[in-house]
């Protein structure tokens, strides 16, 4: 069983046409439904739903509060390496970028970890590029072992791995894996990933299935908005999530919404996604799925983040550095992408409290999967 036949049964152009054909009546039907379908979701992300944004936001807030309470989880990325054999048109770590490459040693990882611990973090997201010689499964296993005693929750955003590799890493304390498809548009994907293992669209598309079969506890999905029209990409993500929830029903899921912003010297988004549209999408996901975790990173601006947490977001990062060694070892090295929100974790926590949310630093414990921390 895999997602592929479902994916192939939904042609991009048909999906796109279907979304753009939605009417106000479709949107109202979707809003009135008690359980919403993927068809309702298409209406909610369509241009026809734009005038209904305030109502969507109110419903989204209510559903999120019911399920998640007055809490927001905090996590921080921990970049372990910027070595990468891939060329990706939008990424600072791309092979063709002439930057100093660095991979953290165990000692350096612990130096970085100490800074994050000092800020109160108990959940870190380990990030690398794709360099299988130096940052392969053995390196990742070592990293998990090194960091496990220090954090309650270890997530990973690295190259897609084989099922047996995931099965090897999970008992080492790997709880969550994020794997973003970037875009479900096959030709667009090829254009943005011309070289390296990442250019294999289908291997990436099958990754959540491999993770599910390996029994991962939580997995995160998403696309990079701006590579293609965001609406079909958002729909495919929802379709993928729907399939995964039914197939790997013991796994938890989260969604993220990274978007390319227009900036000098960097890849310009092909289709820009406005703030209003991103809010529309976040609310639409919540109206479709009351249980999925919705996460927002420091790519977004302080004002946007302060407002968006009330509308359905359940997890945020803060104080992030997107360069290996960025917290302590080598603060000046090149970042993967630019941070828009430079506030410290403590400032973010204070902002959450002012809005009536409890910042949650710890929401997992490895003992719950029978893994000792030491």
């Amino acid at each position: 069983m895999s997602f592929r036949p479902i994916f192939e049964a939904h042609a991009w152009d048909d999906v796109k046409a279907g979304i753009y054909a939605k009417t106000a009546a479709d949107v109202e039907r979707a809003l009135a439904a008690s359980k919403r379908t993927l068809n309702d979701f298409q209406a909610l992300i369509s241009p026809a739903a734009a005038p209904y944004l305030e109502r969507m936001a109110q419903l989204s807030q209510q559903l999120t509060r019911q399920r998640f309470g007055n809490t927001v989880q905090l996590y921080a990325p921990l970049y372990l390496s910027n070595e990468c054999q891939n060329i990706c048109t939008y990424c600072g770590f791309s092979l063709d970028n002439n930057i100093r490459r660095r991979t953290l040693s165990s000692v350096e990882m612990l130096q970085e970890a100490a800074v994050l611990k000092g800020w109160g973090y108990d959940h870190v997201l380990l990030v690398t590029g794709e360099a299988n010689q130096t940052v392969g499964v053995e390196y990742l296993e070592k990293a998990l072992r090194t960091l496990r005693p220090h954090f309650a929750h270890l997530s990973m955003e690295v190259q897609p791995l084989d099922q047996q590799d995931y099965e090897r890493l999970i008992p080492q304390g790997l709880n969550t894996v994020l794997v973003y498809q970037e875009t479900y548009h096959q030709q667009g994907y090829k254009k943005h990933h011309p070289k390296g293992r990442k250019s294999n669209f289908h291997y990436r598309l099958d990754t959540p299935d491999r993770l599910g079969r390996a029994g991962i506890h939580k997995m995160g999905l998403g696309v990079l908005f701006g590579l293609e029209d965001w609406r079909p990409d958002a729909f495919y993500t929802a379709l993928h999530l729907d399939y995964l929830e039914k197939t790997y029903w013991q796994t938890k899921y989260s969604l993220s919404f990274p978007r390319l912003r227009p900036a000098e010297g960097l890849l310009q988004p092909k289709v820009e996604m406005s703030d209003r549209e991103l809010v529309q999408l976040i609310c639409a996901y919540r109206l479709l799925n009351e249980e999925v975790e919705l996460s927002i990173s420091t790519r977004e601006s302080p004002t946007f983040r302060d407002n968006i947490i009330r509308l359905g977001i359940t997890s945020i990062s803060a104080g992030s550095k997107t360069n290996p060694g960025g917290y302590a070892v080598a603060p000046e090295s090149l970042e993967q992408f630019e941070i828009s929100d430079e506030r410290s974790p403590q400032e973010m926590a204070a902002m959450l409290r002012r809005q009536g949310y409890e910042p949650v630093w710890k929401d997992w414990d490895p003992t719950l999967t029978a893994i000792a921390r030491q």
Binding site: N70, T71, Q250, K252, Y357, K362, L368, T369, A370
Partner: protein, 257 residues
Amino acid sequence: MTTHPLVIAGRTFSSRLFTGTGKFSSAALMEEALLASGSELVTVALKRVDVTSADDDLLRHLGHEQFSLLPNTSGVRTAKEAVFAAQLAREALETNWLKLEIHPDPKYLLPDPVETLKAAEELVKLGFVVLPYVHADPVLCKRLEEVGVAAVMPLGSPIGSNKGLLTREFLEIIIGQSRVPVVVDAGIGAPSHAAAALEMGADAVLVNTAIAVAGQPVAMAQAFRLAVEAGRLAYEAKLAAPATHAVASSPLTAFLD
């Protein structure tokens, strides 16, 4: 008026309102609401507390004489994981009481009956006071009773749903035949639901979301306290049987008078 106290595993509770500690907007507000609820047994998710730290924020706010802690295993998916986590909880929180929660499905958080029974049996042998969270399944509740659990905690409706006693028919069977206390857990969304559960003869209720996400959690905690007291008082006072229509005379048997 005083009602009969509740006894579970030899411990006496004057409050029949058990509470949860999740979803509050701050630990201080949680503390205030739980104090107002009169609750004497509060459940704490192991995933939320840092048992390695002497200064865990959540635990610090629960350090009142009034509260006994009931650690729960929320997050585990199997009996094996539950037993492992329970042993850690016992050591770290210095209590052998345990709310056994095994819901492998993270979407609806519905309890796994097979793994729960397996874990309960083992935990009882290991000396735990086990309070298992289960579906409102009368046969499962009897099986759990037979392996020695201290109480059963059937759900009223899906956890966090606030939908009330959707499983009423089955709860009545469970209450009718149970030899251990029955605590209705999950789905209680309003004080009237809690009162209804106590009126039916449930020994206690466990409430979290309905208090934590209320507009004013402290006032809502008081409302639940009163509803639970009223429900129990009504149960002990023996409710008059309901009638579907007015009964004014005896048209069929009046000729006998």
